[in-house]
Structure formats: structure tokens, C-alpha cells
């Protein structure tokens, strides 16, 4: 039976067919759907961990205990999980361990364009890379076989165009993989210096063996000989583009991207007149191939930034005319926006009004940086907001702290904001931290987290008590406000920013897109009462439209949240609009 599956769905299916027992992950585009699909299969225990480091530790624990385990994350998540990754390479596994990492060339939904293949090389862990959904599924089984044969964690890299593209997948039946025996082995799993020195030798020997063996992994690394004039080394989505852009060329398709099959590449290079390397992001293959003394060309033509695509390759390597980046002139951009009814809007509206310095964080609320809210000074990585605000205070003094707030979401706080919070309390910050608690992980599509009271399966789960958590850390000033009580929010923020000690303001209201949130009747502008001051436009609500005759409510979009009523100085916005 064939199904049209997302690459991510196929990876989850592959995990099911490969007898995976435990999946632990943290959501992140473009990796989220793997774990969301894995939880639906019988026999798989799947969970959202608070962050990728914990997720990898859980998965490693399952593997050491003898079960096959899977851990999924986006590329920047692997930075968080790098600590256990590097040492898991030393301990090796018992049951197989697969770590899927999803890179985002072109940054569709990410803050940087990092290439995860370098992690494979620096941690000395093999890495596979599929080119379509069928390979996504098949390579999961292959990865577990390699993991168990070579006693190593295995990485699998996907990119956005593989993770979020649907293609045909032939389904198979799941295989029964019994638990392996659990044997205490202190020298293998206790990584103190004396043991780790011994394991480093094992790691090096394993990598050498894999590097030699992988030239013969013909199911992963495949030569497609065609014209001898041009040979292309590629992997992943780049292979798909090469096959269409350069149909005459011979292709060495790498399914194993680390370690590289040196013998196979040397042999391929010797059979073609000109060798090129086509890879998304960094010159990972190219640098290695050049270091072996094989002339080739790649990044000097394709560049380091953005995504590859067919037309780019046919222009660069097949002499097709350069059509250039075509855009229709005079079309206003349509950036993403905070949704109508979004509780974050109120927070950024007030922060803009107070002219605060705002270090924000990763989530929907990053959009508070865009006009007209225009209320964010910096966003770096998950959990960074609190540390950045604290550092700014230490550099510029507590008077600066009185004008500064950190803004962080509930899921991001649980991910890696807590340690920043502890640091701010411990090192006597006098700043203000706003936790925008919308009871979900919004941007990635509504995943549960330790503050929502539910788990990945949708079951009721213990819920972190945020107020008590702050108190336990030693923070005395903790306030909870409903951000839609706009006046109260402003008063509380003014008081807490002025206070000479650390404050946490929990702005709590659920995401407007949650099914449990009731949509109210839309509001309407009473033309006679409107003085056309356009104060409501400062909210940046997509349901309020500026017209020469005054603001107009798009009743198809309005959720009746009433925020605009509260900012209207003449009371010209009333309940009771007709839903379009």
C-alpha cells in the first residue's frame, strides 16, 4: 500500500516499523510532525520533553536500557542537546539510538541557517540524509541497524523541503524488536576521565571502521552513471534538484553524509571529466573532497546563503539563461502577524507605550517586533531574553533595568528560561520579566508543555505552578495579570519596572486559536462617535482596517476580544457587529 506522506510522517512510520519504543523530543519547525505522528502508533511511548537536551538524555536512557529510541529536534535544538550528544558518542548504546535533526535552509521558520552536518563530524557520530519520504522511512530502519552494529548513536539530517514535502511511501509491517538485556557496565557508561580515555579510543576506531565500510553501503550511497563529462556529488533535496537541472550528468548520491565514503568518491571522481559538489548550506562535502586533493567546484558558484533550486543549478552549471530572482513589482509584502484576539498584542502595545527596552524570545511573540507594535529590541535564541536583560543591567546599571523588560513565553520559559530566571534572582537583578503564558506552544502549532497541564497524548498531566516556582527561586515580586485588562497591565508593569528588585509579571490568557477559547461576536465602529484618531490602529490587529472614512472592522476576522474598545478614547467601538 502506498501513501503520500510528509517526510516527517514517514520518519514516524519508519520508527514504528523499526520497533522503536521511546520517542522524546521538543517541538521545532520543521521537525515537529515526527513526534506528533509517532505518538499515534501502538507500541511507541512518545513525549514532549521541556527541551532538546532533556529529550536526548531520555532517549539515551531508553537506549542504554535496551530499547530502540528516537529523539527529534530542529537544527538549533541540537545546540541545546550537544552536551549529551558528544558524550553519548563515547558511551555508545545498547538498543539503537537515532537523533533526527531538521535544518532550515532559507530560514522559513528559524533564526539562523546552521548546517548540522558539522555536529556529526565533531561528535564523531554517523549521519544519514534522505532525499524523499520513502527514504525517510527506509533510512530509519537502516540507522537503527548501523547504530546497533557499530554501537553508536546515529544522526539523520532532513531539511525543510524533505521534512515538509509529501511523496509516495510504500508501507511495511512493523518488526518485533525485543528489548536487549540490561547489563551494568561502569567502564562504558560512567564517563569519568579514566573511563572516557578508554572510550575515546573506541570512538576513533569505530569511526575508522565506518569510514572504510561505508563505501560499500550501496543502499545508502549510490552512483548513477550517465555522461562522463560532468559528475555531481550531492545528497538530500539537492539530489532532487540535480536530477532535474542536470539530467545528462552522472550523480553520486550520498545517503550517508558522515563519515564520507572516500573510496567511492575517489572512484567516482576518476570516472568523470569535471566534478562538482551541490549541497545546501556549507561546503561540507566540498572541503573534505578538496582536502583529499581531488579538484572540484561548488560553493564558489552556489554560494552559502538560501536554498538551492532547480533553475539556479541549470543556470550555474548547464548554461541556461539566468532568469534572475523574479518578483512582481509593486506588491506589498505580507509578513506573518499576531492573530486577531492574540493576548500577546496587549503586552506589546503597553510596552511600546512605555518605550521599554525589550529583550524578547522565540515564539509567536517575536512578532511583537514588527510595526506598528515595534516593541522588541532583541531576539536571539530559546530562553535568551532573561539573560540578555540581566546582562544589560550589569553593564548599564539599575537605572537601565527600570526601563528594561524581558518577555518570554510559557513553553520557552520551561525550555531554557528557568536557568536564566534562577541566574537573575541569584545574581540580584532588579529587572522585570514578563511571562506571556498563553497555555500552549503557539508558533509550532499548539503543542503541550509542562505549564499547560496536558501531555503529548492529550492526557491530564502535572502542571508547573509558575508562581510557586518563582517564589521558590527567591523572587518576591510575582504578579499575575490578564493582559486584556489593559489598564491593570499598564499599572502593574509601571510598578514592577520601577521596583528596586527583580519582578516577574505573568500575563496569562490562552492563545486565541485554542479550541477551548470562545470566539465572541465581532465589534463594530460607530461612525458618528469615531473621531478618526486611529488610536486603535496602534494595536496592529489584522481585523482593523484603515480607510479614509475612519477605521473599519473586518467582521470575518474579528474575534470580539475587545482590546480595541479599550484603547478607543471616544468609546466609538461597540459590541454587536454582524459576522460576515
Amino acid at each position: 500500500m502506498k501513501e503520500l506522506m510528509l517526510g516527517n510522517e514517514a520518519i514516524a512510520r519508519g520508527a514504528y516499523e523499526a520497533g522503536v519504543r521511546v520517542v522524546s523530543s521538543y517541538p521545532g519547525t520543521p521537525s515537529t510532525e515526527i513526534t506528533e505522528n509517532a505518538v499515534r502508533y501502538d507500541g511507541i511511548y512518545a513525549e514532549w520533553a521541556p527541551n532538546e537536551k532533556v529529550a536526548l538524555e531520555v532517549s539515551l536512557g531508553a537506549a542504554i536500557a535496551g530499547g530502540r529510541a528516537l529523539c527529534c529536534m530542529k537544527h538549533v535544538g541540537l545546540n541545546v542537546a550537544a552536551d549529551p550528544l558528544f558524550t553519548a558518542a563515547y558511551t555508545g548504546i545498547n538498543g539503537g539510538l537515532l537523533i533526527v535533526v531538521a535544518d532550515d535552509p532559507g530560514m522559513h521558520s528559524s533564526q539562523n541557517e546552521q548546517d548540522s552536518r558539522f555536529y556529526a563530524r565533531s561528535a564523531h557520530v554517523p549521519m544519514l540524509e534522505p532525499s524523499d519520504s520513502q527514504e525517510c522511512k527506509d533510512m530509519v530502519a537502516r540507522a537503527f541497524a548501523i547504530s546497533e552494529e557499530y554501537d553508536t548513536p546515529v544522526l539523520m539530517r532532513v531539511t525543510t523541503r524533505i521534512a515538509h514535502a509529501r511523496s509516495l511511501v510504500e508501507l511495511s509491517e512493523p518488526t518485533e524488536i525485543p528489548l536487549r538485556d540490561y547489563v551494568k557496565d561502569m567502564r562504558k557508561y560512567v564517563m569519568m576521565p579514566g573511563n572516557a580515555r578508554g572510550r575515546h579510543v573506541v570512538v576513533e576506531a569505530r569511526e575508522k571502521r565506518l569510514a572504510e565500510d561505508c563505501s560499500a553501503f550501496s543502499d545508502l550511497n549510490r552512483v548513477e552513471m550517465n555522461s562522463a563529462k560532468l559528475g555531481v556529488v550531492c545528497s538530500g533535496a539537492a539530489y532532487d534538484y540535480v536530477r532535474e537541472a542536470l539530467p545528462e550528468a552522472s550523480v553520486l548520491k550520498l545517503g550517508m553524509v558522515y563519515p564520507l565514503p572516500k573510496k567511492l568518491i575517489e572512484d567516482f571522481a576518476s570516472r568523470v571529466e569535471q566534478l562538482i559538489v551541490v549541497e545546501d548550506m556549507e561546503p561540507f562535502f566540498e572541503d573534505a573532497i578538496k582536502s583529499w586533493g581531488i579538484p572540484c567546484c561548488g560553493k564558489e558558484k552556489t554560494g552559502l546563503q538560501g536554498e538551492l533550486f532547480v533553475r539556479k543549478l541549470s543556470t550555474l552549471f548547464a548554461g541556461a539563461p539566468d532568469a534572475g530572482p523574479q518578483e512582481t513589482p509593486g506588491v506589498p509584502p505580507r509578513p506573518p502577524v499576531l492573530c486577531p484576539g492574540c493576548p500577546h498584542r496587549a503586552v506589546f502595545y503597553v510596552l511600546h507605550k512605555l518605550r521599554a527596552h525589550v529583550s524578547a524570545d522565540i515564539g509567536c511573540y517575536t512578532l511583537g517586533a514588527l510595526k506598528p507594535l515595534d516593541a522588541v529590541d532583541s531576539v536571539v535564541c530559546m530562553g535568551a531574553s532573561i539573560g540578555i536583560a540581566h546582562g544589560a543591567e550589569k553593564a548599564r546599571g539599575s537605572s537601565f533595568a527600570r526601563e528594561t523588560v524581558a518577555v518570554i513565553g510559557d513553553s520557552t520559559l520551561m525550555h531554557s528560561g528557568i536557568t536564566g530566571l534562577v541566574n537573575a534572582a541569584y545574581n540580584e537583578s532588579t529587572g522585570t520579566i514578563i511571562v506571556v503564558d498563553n497555555s500552549t506552544t503557539g508558533m509550532t502549532g499548539h503543542q503541550e508543555n509542562p505549564l499547560t497541564g496536558k501531555n503529548l497524548r492529550g492526557d491530564i498531566a502535572p502542571r508547573v505552578n509558575l508562581v510557586k516556582l518563582c517564589e521558590a527561586i527567591g523572587i518576591r515580586r510575582v504578579r499575575v495579570v490578564d493582559p486584556f485588562e489593559l489598564k491593570e497591565l499598564e499599572t502593574v508593569l509601571k510598578e514592577e519596572m520601577a521596583a528596586d528588585e527583580l519582578s516577574v509579571v505573568i500575563a496569562r490568557r490562552p492563545c486565541a486559536l485554542l479550541k477551548s477559547v470562545r470566539i465572541e461576536a465581532p465589534v463594530t465602529v460607530v461612525a458618528d462617535a469615531c473621531v478618526k484618531c486611529f488610536a486603535c490602529m496602534r494595536l496592529g490587529c489584522p481585523a482593523i482596517i484603515k480607510t479614509p472614512g475612519g477605521p473599519v472592522i473586518d467582521t470575518a476576522l474579528c474575534t470580539g476580544c475587545g482590546l480595541c474598545q479599550k484603547v478607543c478614547p471616544t468609546g466609538a467601538i461597540k459590541k454587536g457587529g454582524e459576522r460576515a
Binding site: K2, E3, L4, L6, T29, P30, T32, E33, H108, S109, D132, R161, I162, H164, A165, R166, S167, L168, A237, Y239, D240, Y241, R243, E244, F309, V310, R311, A323, Q326, E327, T328, G330, V331, P332, P333, R334, P335, P336, V337, L338, C339, C364, L367, L370, K371, P372, M443, T444, G445, M537, G540, P542, I544, I545, K546, D554
Partner: protein, 191 residues
């Protein structure tokens, strides 16, 4: 190879349309790839889905339609059709839901929604403009606007109406099948 680009505004239901096309490809025994957009752009931003369905015996490698490659652009919104024009093949067709959704720079008054958007689209391509939202509402739910557009699209692709009906039935919730099939028929009639 049939190449279709589906564009709209995040939240408009473009993904269901591409899923139905995928179903048809499987039923026809054809290779296909569908590239979707998840994540940040879904929050009211421009979204684009690429659908490539092979001819008999062909293989689809790239999941993306290249600029100048689309046989049809299905647009859920006027401005997005204008933005997506470079994807259209010479002689291609645009199926347009003639709705205007204002982007934030227009809402705030910083930029203008091009008044001649429809004329510019019509000047560069064959356009079938329909009021999919109005037609869908008449069928019982505005949410079936995407299915009305698929009805129009079905006249431009070589797959029989039965295939479409089966795919729609397989992809929407059982309670809404009848309503959506009606929306599909209305769309077919419009196109």
C-alpha cells in the same frame, strides 16, 4: 507532468486543497510531490504550496515548482495571485478566489493595496475569477471555498470527476462530505 501552485494567506485552508490533489495522484497511480508550508508563515503571512503530479511513467524529483513552471496557479486571494505570477508558465491559467485580504502594511496605511491588481493579473494570464467564498456559503459553509476552487481546477486537469469526488470524500470529515461535494459541483459549473 502537471504543476500546480496554490497560494493564499496563512489560515485559509490551502493545505486541504493540496492534500486532495495528492489523493488523486495516488488513485491515478502517478508519482507526485507536494511541498507544504508549516510554521511561522501560517500566522497570517503569504503561504505557497507546490504540487507536482507526474505523467504516466514519469518520476517527480524536485518537490518545488520552478518559476515559469506552473500550469495552473490556484490563488485564494487577489494580491497573492499577483505575487505568484512569476511561477506561471506561458499560456498557464490562474484560478482566482476574488477576495481581498489586506496585509499589515496596507492595514496600517504604510502601503496601498494595488487597485489594479485584477487587471494586472488578467493582462498577463488567462484568469478564471470566482467568488468562491460566496458560492461556498450558499452551499452551507464558507470553509468549502477551497473545494469550490478545486471544482474550477478540475476542468483544467486530466483527472475525471469521480477521482475528485472520491478524494474529497476521503479528505474531509464525514459530516461535511455532502456539503463539499456540492461545493465541488458548483465550482465545476463555474469553470
Amino acid at each position: 507532468m502537471k504543476q500546480i501552485v496554490i497560494v493564499g494567506v496563512g489560515g485559509q485552508g490551502t493545505l486541504l486543497a493540496s492534500r486532495i490533489l495528492g489523493h488523486i495522484a495516488i488513485a491515478e497511480g502517478l508519482d507526485a510531490k507536494v511541498s507544504e508550508v508549516h510554521g511561522m508563515s501560517q500566522r497570517g503571512g503569504s503561504v505557497i504550496t507546490h504540487v507536482r503530479i507526474a505523467g504516466p511513467g514519469e518520476t517527480v524529483y524536485s518537490p518545488l515548482v520552478e518559476q515559469g513552471g506552473a500550469d495552473v496557479i490556484v490563488s485564494f486571494e487577489r494580491l497573492e495571485a499577483l505575487r505568484a505570477l512569476p511561477y506561471l508558465k506561458a499560456g498557464g491559467t490562474i484560478v482566482l478566489n476574488d477576495q481581498k485580504i489586506l496585509p499589515m502594511p496596507v492595514i496600517t496605511g504604510a502601503m496601498e493595496y494595488p487597485a489594479d491588481a485584477l487587471e494586472r493579473i488578467q493582462a498577463s494570464a488567462r484568469v478564471i475569477a470566482v467568488d468562491a467564498l460566496g458560492v461556498a456559503r450558499a452551499c452551507g459553509t464558507g470553509k468549502a471555498a477551497n473545494i469550490v476552487l478545486l471544482g474550477v481546477l478540475s476542468n483544467l486537469l486530466p483527472y475525471g470527476p469521480k477521482r475528485w469526488q472520491e478524494a474529497i470524500a476521503a479528505c474531509v470529515k464525514p459530516a461535511f462530505v455532502e456539503m463539499n461535494l456540492k461545493a465541488f459541483e458548483e465550482g465545476r459549473y463555474l469553470g
